[in-house]
């Protein structure tokens, strides 16, 4: 599945490890929340990066204490119109200050990509037939937004404030 990050397709260096599969001794691995919670102490000495996959109904607070152990958090869109991951991403990014990769997985359609980017996602697993042009088109669909979010895009209120100050 094509993975978009920083506006380009990137190779996926991460391996998704099933709950009952043996963990590779090194390399970048993604674990489920369940497995992490069960084995977190035992994993302390392992060589290699950890990523964690949070289900849509998980409270991000459950991994707050461990955030510095993750280089990647995968958030899910079980159906594309299940918007819980938008809140999860914002909490992780803005409230907890998570600086690693937040990746969108599941039913990721073009029409949500800009909302995702605004909420703090920086990597996107697209459906197999999707192209980079889809991605670019999605990022360009809007050039104004009313609300501040987890990204650096300047919201309307700030633009208006600057315009007033400049007068």
């Amino acid at each position: 599945m094509p993975l978009v990050k920083h506006g380009a397709f990137v190779a996926n260096e991460w391996v998704e490890v099933a709950d009952d599969a043996a963990l590779p001794s090194d390399g970048a691995v993604i674990l489920s929340l369940k497995r992490w919670q069960a084995e977190r102490d035992a994993l302390a000495g392992r060589n290699g990066k950890f990523g964690i996959r949070l289900p849509a109904d998980a409270d991000p607070a459950v991994i707050r204490a461990d955030l510095d152990r993750f280089a990647l958090i995968v958030l899910e869109f079980p159906k594309f119109n299940d918007g819980r991951a938008f809140s999860q991403a914002r909490i992780l990014r803005q409230r907890y200050g998570f600086a690693g990769e937040i990746r969108a997985a599941g039913h990721v359609i073009r029409d949500l990509l800009l909302f995702m980017a605004r909420c703090g996602f920086d990597a996107f697993q697209l459906a197999p037939e999707r192209t980079l042009d889809d991605w670019r088109a999605a990022m360009r669909e809007f050039s104004v937004w009313y609300q501040p979010a987890a990204d650096a895009r300047v919201p309307a209120s700030e633009l208006r404030h600057r315009a007033l100050a400049a007068q």
Partner: protein, 551 residues
């Protein structure tokens, strides 16, 4: 009225372009029907019984004459020369084609209108008091904050895919004409002990399958904190609202299942953690928007206005219309004129394109170019000089817009029902017409006084039957249309959900049942007591006995 700046305009232009592209992708097979449906709903496009239906946003029910003319044009060019004003202050066109919708959205964007988020699991049109800015006793004009909320809620990146639809209403005066307590979030503008203006924030109200009255989450939120606080409510709902069952997915279900104490605690916890990253509401932005809602340059007018009083004295029909449809304006010598869209035999809330054009002209001539839409499906000309009321009334009469029945028994609120709506179980419009016909006598209507009948064609309650003084719900009983009556609902600040009377009736028996309810009321009422007050005093039993008495 608010006027778009370059940012507002660009947003609706880009949104229209986005939808055009979404339609192209759908027709080219790049979007499945399942994927396309929520996207078209978020642009107000439904598939109904006969065709697509487009619900166009009329933010907090306010329209300029230019916008009204554009709606008339859309009705002519893309529909069948009429539109329907809804119970959330929007307008619907029933015969729309998907292939024309991108052009319609472009035409709307040209006059600073859109159909953004009028459907879908997102924040819908924020509704407000239809007399905002012109009625006495207002703490502040709620339209200012309704506009703030409109912008804040438009394409909110975090809250565009909620468990279910989300409706917000705001009121700045009493009685509450915006039905605040029946909304997912309701806001009352108020002053605290220090005289500062802020908001009482309520949540968890709603109608539909399980009607619930909203409860207070926080008694006072300062202006600057309004948006950030609301975001915490939205976030708790977004994360915890049920997504497994559409009948249990509204915030009212969440508030009920957690209890208000626990719900409030979760909101406050989120707010404490996120207030710095929430949407700000600077004073400068409030002032910028408030400037669009400054009162017009009213003249100093001596009252009583002799020309007006004389016309009333001389013309009984005019006097009747004034008595029923003209509401006191806060400025001496001015008036609020309500244009009834409930003529006998018509379709409640419908207006032809010709009528829309006429209203636009009358708004220009008599009301500073402004029209309002009420959530009871009537229109308002908010700033009419008393000495012009007679001329206005004559012109309204020419267009069938002078029915003098505001809040009377024939001023019925009805959803489109099974005549139009794919969700309906029964027709609602013919029931409204039968009742109007039975109670056509104007003297009798006035004798009965304020009596709000609300009719829904299904459990989704778009006709707001739960909060009707008399509510009527259409059901399908083994293939037959049956109608269940309820009593004692109310949408104002003393909000209450109506109580079911008993067994339902087939359509032709509904007027008789209403007659019996009326007879009970008249038998028991004390001087000047309104129907709802008599009901509250004597309870449902006398009504029940009369309606279901043998023979």
């Amino acid at each position: 009225m608010y006027q778009y700046d370059a940012i507002d305009q660009r947003l609706v232009d880009e949104r229209a372009a986005q939808f055009r592209e979404q339609v192209r992708r759908r027709l080219a097979g790049e979007l499945t029907d399942l994927e396309f449906k929520p996207l078209r709903l978020m642009n107000g496009l439904y598939l109904q019984l006969h065709a697509y239906m487009l619900r166009i946003a009329i933010p907090y029910g306010t329209l300029s004459s230019r916008q009204m003319r554009r709606l008339a044009e859309i009705g002519r060019r893309y529909d069948k020369d009429y539109g329907h004003f809804t119970t959330r202050q929007n307008i619907q066109f029933n015969w729309i084609k998907l292939e024309n919708t991108p052009d319609i959205l472009d035409a709307l964007a040209e006059v600073e209108m859109h159909a953004i988020q009028t459907s879908g699991n997102c924040i819908r049109n924020v509704t407000a008091d239809q007399y905002a800015g012109v009625v006495a006793g207002e703490v502040e004009d709620p339209r200012i904050y309704a506009e703030v909320l409109r912008q804040w809620s438009t394409l909110h990146p975090e809250f565009s895919f909620l468990p279910r639809k989300f409706k917000i209403a705001i009121s700045g005066a009493f009685p509450d004409r915006a039905a605040v307590k029946t909304h997912d979030i309701g806001l009352f503008i108020k002053r605290n002990g220090k005289g500062e203006v802020g908001f009482e924030v309520l949540a968890g109200g709603g109608q539909g399958r399980t009607p619930v009255i909203a409860q207070t989450v926080r008694d006072f939120v300062p202006k600057a904190e309004l948006l950030a606080y609301l975001e915490s409510i939205m976030r708790v709902y977004n994360l915890m609202g049920r997504r497994d069952n559409i009948y249990k997915a509204r915030i009212k279900i969440l508030v009920q299942s957690l209890g208000i104490e626990k719900f409030r605690a979760l909101v406050e916890e989120d707010y404490a953690a996120s207030r710095d990253s929430g949407s700000p509401l600077p004073d400068a932005e409030i002032a910028r928007i408030a400037a669009f809602f400054m009162p017009p340059a009213y003249e100093r007018i001596e009252t009583p206005v002799r020309a007006f009083e004389a016309a009333r004295f001389e013309n009984r029909e005019f006097a009747r219309w004034v008595q029923n449809n003209v509401v006191a304006h806060k400025r001496p010598g001015y008036a609020i004129a309500v244009v009834s869209l409930k003529p006998e035999g018509g379709v409640p809330g419908d207006a032809s394109s010709d009528q829309m054009d006429a209203i636009a002209d009358l708004a220009d001539e008599f009301s500073g170019g402004e029209v309002r839409v009420t959530h009871e499906q009537n229109l308002v000309l908010p700033n009419v000089r008393q000495d012009a009321l007679h001329a206005l009334w004559q012109k309204l009469s020419k267009h069938g817009l002078a029915t003098p029945n505001l809040n009377l028994i024939t001023d019925i609120i009805a959803c489109p029902g099974l005549d139009y709506c794919a969700l309906a179980n029964a027709r609602s419009i013919p029931i409204a017409q039968r009742i109007q016909e039975r109670f056509a006598d104007r003297e009798r209507q006035e004798l009965l006084g304020e009596l709000r009948i609300k009719i829904s064609g299904c459990i989704n309650a778009c006709g707001h039957h739960h909060v009707g003084h008399i509510g009527i719900l259409g059901v399908d009983k083994q293939g037959e249309e049956f109608y269940q009556l309820s009593l004692g609902g109310s949408a104002d600040e003393n909000a209450s959900v109506g109580k079911i009377l008993g067994k339902g009736f087939p359509a032709e028996q509904v007027p008789d049942a209403i007659e019996k309810l009326i007879a009970t009321y008249l038998d028991h009422r004390t001087d000047g007591e309104k129907f709802i007050d008599t009901y509250r005093r004597i309870g449902i039993e006398p009504f029940k006995e009369r309606v279901y008495a043998a023979g």
